[in-house]
Symmetry: C3
Subunit: 281 residues, 3 copies
């Protein structure tokens, strides 16, 4: 298996993303987030700015039933308290019963045992999508050396192989964040070159994208496959990041401008700005 | 009972709000917040910008005694962990013993059983004020169908009836958020038409107002009745929102401008900008 | 013992701070934060803007091992849940085994029993640095009346005496925040007159400085003593605050500008802007 794509003649992702964005704004999906204490506020603001409706229902006794009525669910393991760990399992069970699409973000797994064990247990429950950086995807696939992630030089190719492996194993879409974002279902893949390095200087820059993926999966349930929905969320987010970076050169003002850009970005903007490659793995 | 007001010849709310704002800035009230993980930072910043002193004391063994010395207390049920649920009951007991005014914000009650049960238990302890949107107020009053809230078309009138019922039942002031905010003690009411729709695109836009109500209740303990204090907080917040919307057209920059406007808004601004109707229910 | 300094002929702090800032940006220290729910997001953003790498690992079973690999650790007692209290003790043990420098921020101790007891237990474990306002430092030293802190008029001198006492007792560096920040190891001291009052209107304005101290202690482990590293973090933060206040006059935009300024501040800026006094106590 190669990490290279076999490019298709043209990509339909930008126009598909434009359509899902219109659908999302016309019928805002209710997005349940079980996420870490650092990024809850920013995550909710990203969802609101893009047009979705956040709901941070993360306690035992409520998380499961809410997952049954939500349009999408995010489980992010950034600061997994005992209450959140139990609520995550309850929510995922509720999501499975109602076929609510859900996203797993295995933050910082690898050496840290509590979250790593939970991430593997959750992955077994077949998330609709899994989102992480190269180290996290390699760790979840069981391909990392168990240490501090991989060298920057070989991380992209190695992580794409791990992503494809994970995607096939769990029947999930897997998204790997990086200078170029890769989204795959194990057979086909999108490479999205949009984005900006200032995203790495804002806490929650990656975590909020996981929530947006849950929103797009919810909005597109009837109209697009999960691979397209997850790639569409990535495209909207990274195009908005480019627009934000055009008016803000430092991390404080960039975070503010990103929210503004998510609110302002139009379907036409996506088609114009997209730098996307699609193909078979 | 009609949801229509029987208007009084003129409202004294703007000048009363101006006076309380001056008092608050001269002697900043210490506001204890037991609130949800999504909005804690924004809530504290709203209080600081307006001139109050926030203190998020929300653990068992401290919440009760702190409520005895605080100027005001907010109990917001947005993400009620077991620790916060126990701390809420302890804090409310401390507030009752010291006659500290307190505000209940029953976030998203209705179908979610843990918070709904807690909200009813807290309401029985006679909050000084209760704040919510139409669905939450209807659910707390026991008047909603138990589902997803009410239609937008009939929500205002129905919620005002529920607010009046709740206000009489618990001897509380009840505030219903919406395009027009309504604040009532069950006999008299204020309708406040100030505000801006961008508030609904900032997480904590409503939750932070609950904290500001606790601040105004604390600042005005000796000088104004609770109905006036709660309506004054609403007026200050919504006038600041209008000033923010005049300089920021998207949610990221609006949230920043709202904090700036809460810091800058003057007593005179309130009197000039107020669009308030007062009357008997 | 007098709170007055016996000034040295010139201070080397600005140039030392400039060197540590360069080191930090070349090899970003990994800073573990166990901090309060109100300020987690802002704290992470402060670290990222300055050039460090935040990691909020605050659960039992992970906090201790992570402290063994982190460059620095912050333990902030702002909202100490039972889980965080246990994780704090575990983390401090891990830090001691690996000689990871760590900072204790005893937020609001004094009358509140849970955090006060924990703060004393943690202080016994010899933090590399302790950071607080005058009331907190007096309370930790056992010198406050046990009430609501001290009068503003005598707080600085009294707190400096308490800081020196604490520093000698625990072999720690102690930093007292105020209009003039004082940092001492019990023998020598720096007085830093930089900063801006808008910092007091942003939640986490002080808490985030504690995290930055942990970052500077980590970055400077091989190159500077803890007294210099802690004072250097204070200088960078307060110089950035002055730059932010030059472009933003209200708290919402000031917080954004502070992050931008932490990203932009150069080693040369520190040397130019520093208003520092050094001397023996």
């Amino acid at each position: 298996m190669s990490a290279r794509l076999h490019p298709e003649s043209d990509s339909t992702l930008p126009s598909a993303a434009a359509e899902i964005l219109v659908e999302l704004r016309e019928a805002p999906p209710l997005v349940q987030c079980i996420t870490n204490a650092v990024v809850t506020g920013f995550t909710a603001n990203v969802l609101l700015a893009a047009g979705a409706a956040p709901a941070m229902v993360d306690i035992v006794g409520e998380a499961g039933m809410f997952a049954g009525v939500a349009s999408g669910l995010l489980v992010n393991l950034g600061t997994p308290t005992p209450e959140q760990r139990a609520a995550s399992l309850e929510a995922v069970e509720g999501a499975a019963e109602s076929r609510t699409p859900w996203v797993l973000d295995p933050v910082a797994i690898g050496a840290l045992p509590v979250r790593t064990s939970l991430a593997h247990a959750l992955a077994e429950r077949r998330p609709t999508a899994i989102r992480g950086n190269a180290s996290e995807i390699l760790a979840l696939a069981g391909l990392s050396a168990g240490g501090r992630g991989v060298d920057a030089t070989d991380s992209t190719d190695a992580a794409v192989e791990a992503a494809a492996l994970l995607a096939r194993r769990h029947a999930s879409v897997v998204a790997v964040s990086g200078p170029i974002d890769v989204v795959t279902d194990g057979e086909r893949a999108f490479r999205i070159a949009n984005g900006h390095s200032l995203l790495t200087l804002v806490t929650g820059g990656g975590c909020a994208l996981g929530a947006l993926m849950a929103a797009f999966l919810g909005a597109a349930r009837a109209s697009a496959d999960p691979l397209t929905a997850v790639a569409a969320a990535t495209l909207v987010y990274t195009v908005a990041a480019e627009r934000a970076a055009a008016v803000a050169a430092a991390p404080g003002s960039f975070a503010v401008a990103l929210l503004d850009a998510l609110h302002a970005v139009s379907p036409e903007d996506l088609v114009e700005a997209a730098r996307v490659e699609a193909g078979a793995l």
